[in-house]
Amino acid sequence: MVEARGLSKRFGDFLAVDSVDFAVVAGETFGFLGPNGAGKSSTMRMIGAVSPRAGGELLVFGLDPAADGPAIRQRLGVVPQQDNLDLELTVFENLFVYGRYFGLPAKLVRERAQELLEFVQLAERRDHRVEPLSGGMKRRLTIARALVNAPELMLLDEPTTGLDPQARHAVWERLYRLKQQGVTLVLTTHYMDEAEQLCDRLVVMDRGRIVAEGSPRELIARYVEREVVELRFAAGGDGRAGTLDGVGKRVEVLADRVLIGTDDGDATVAAVHARGVEPDSVLVRRSTLEDVFLSITGRTLVD
């Protein structure tokens, strides 16, 4: 579906995307995971045929976005990072107007809009204006709008950023159902739980480059230990981390806590106590993509 080789994007002197390679195959959910400013959105805009590339090769549906932008956009569904619904129009009209830009007959768009409103659970808001809707409802409507042309590939740029936990789960659930129906999804996120929940495969981006690639499980197996022991200290207690050297396979000292990567959490906790280190709280948990990112770049995903 998408193939990129040496793909780059430049804004003035700033290299936003620095020669990245990736491929997305039909039916999979592919993620770009990384902190803000990693180049995820720029990459998405190039795939979406709205932003010209500075270098490299890019094929979407086997077409070159530089030459066949409209033909590519005809087959894409795009959920942008920032909502851009028509606030003056009703929920239904937003879908109808948008569907017409794809050259679909009015009757077909009407039928689809009705089905999609049911799919995103907004059918009873059909004739309400968009402006007073909640953030979660607007997001779901934006997803419905992106589906109105029955796209082969859906691009979602941070689909749940800014939503409350309940609204996030509602969005994830809809995306999961699309995935089950065989829609190819490409999404960006800086939430590791989102990437873990949805992505079959993902690339980790940092400062315009791809620093790791694989399924969430593969990445965890490759870059981090099975478990993480999280120690929290009272203010000023971080200095004690020095005495933790060698207690686990990997020790990361963050501003508010110390993370110890290990294959056996309970044994590590016992070892910590044996050294006379007494943190305020101790938590043993499974390793996540967040730990992968930290292990590769030495920085956290969300600052």
Binding site: V50, P70, R73, P80, N84, E88, L89, E111, A150, Q181
Partner: protein
């Protein structure tokens, strides 16, 4: 979800179709907001016509002003027609573009569809054209009812006014797409359009201006619109002059459209 499962090959619509869909979207949005614009687009121009054209005009005529054989109402009505078109056209060029790019970001949504930037702009200007047509025809009908027109050629005056309005709509769309805040627009409305409205021959013959200001007024697009409308309304058309007026306004429209396309491409395709 049968609609999602059934992927009929989508038809490839043409440019004209897509521009028409943008026009249809503008019309649909207008259905929600028209109330707010009725005063400025219909009532204000008619109040002007009544107060300046009819009531003040009566005083002017009693002083025996030399207006090339026209009564003051006959003189000022076509001027107001062009000035009304200027105001409407400038507004239609400026604010929808500001909203589409910044306030609501709807142009960004459209940019993700097969619609190309020139098609988007064509749709926006087509909508401006439609609003101008309705506004100028209504104004001209009221003016005709007041007895402001002496020639059947006056029937063409709204078309001239629409052209005048578009010659403002396109450049203002270009400015709106280029600037970073609406402050620049406020400045243009206050310090460019308002003086033009007052000094470009709408209310008095240009010869009344101080000598140095007269050529400046000649260069303004509004004067060309006013002169064209006035010659049609009075049935006193000089072919060469009319050609210059139409050419000037068309050139401004074309220049504005080219610059607006470029600025929109920069915003939407960066």
């Amino acid at each position: 979800m049968t609609a999602l499962a059934a992927r009929a090959p989508a038809p490839a619509p043409g440019s004209l179709y897509r521009a028409a869909m943008v026009l249809a979207w503008n019309a649909r949005t207008y259905r929600r907001t028209w109330r707010a614009t009725v005063t400025i687009s219909f009532l204000n121009p008619i109040f002007f016509l009544l107060s300046v054209g009819v009531l003040l005009g009566d005083l002017v005529d009693r002083r025996g002003a030399d207006l090339g054989g026209l009564s003051y109402l006959e003189f000022v009505a076509p001027g107001l027609l062009a000035a009304t078109a200027m105001q409407l056209g400038a507004g239609e060029g400026a604010f929808p573009v500001m909203a589409g790019l910044r306030w609501v970001r709807s142009y960004h949504a459209i940019a993700a569809t097969p619609v190309r930037v020139p098609e988007l702009l064509a749709g926006v200007l087509a909508w401006a054209c439609l609003r101008l047509a309705v506004g100028t025809v209504v104004f001209a009908a009221v003016a005709a009812a007041f007895g402001a027109f002496t020639s059947p050629l006056a029937a063409l005056a709204p078309a001239a006014a629409v052209l005048c309005g578009l010659a403002f709509a396109a450049p203002l769309a270009a400015v709106s797409a280029s600037v970073d805040s609406s402050l620049a627009l406020t400045g243009i409305f206050r310090f460019v359009l308002l003086p033009m409205f007052l000094l470009s021959g709408t209310f008095f013959p240009l010869e009344r201006l101080p000598g140095w200001l007269e050529p400046v007024a000649w260069a303004t697009p509004l004067w060309h619109g006013v002169a064209l409308c006035r010659s049609l309304a009075a049935g006193d058309v000089d072919a060469a002059a009319a050609l210059v007026h139409v050419g000037y306004l068309l050139a401004l429209l074309a220049l504005g459209a080219v610059l607006a396309t470029r600025a929109l491409e920069r915003r939407l395709r960066q």
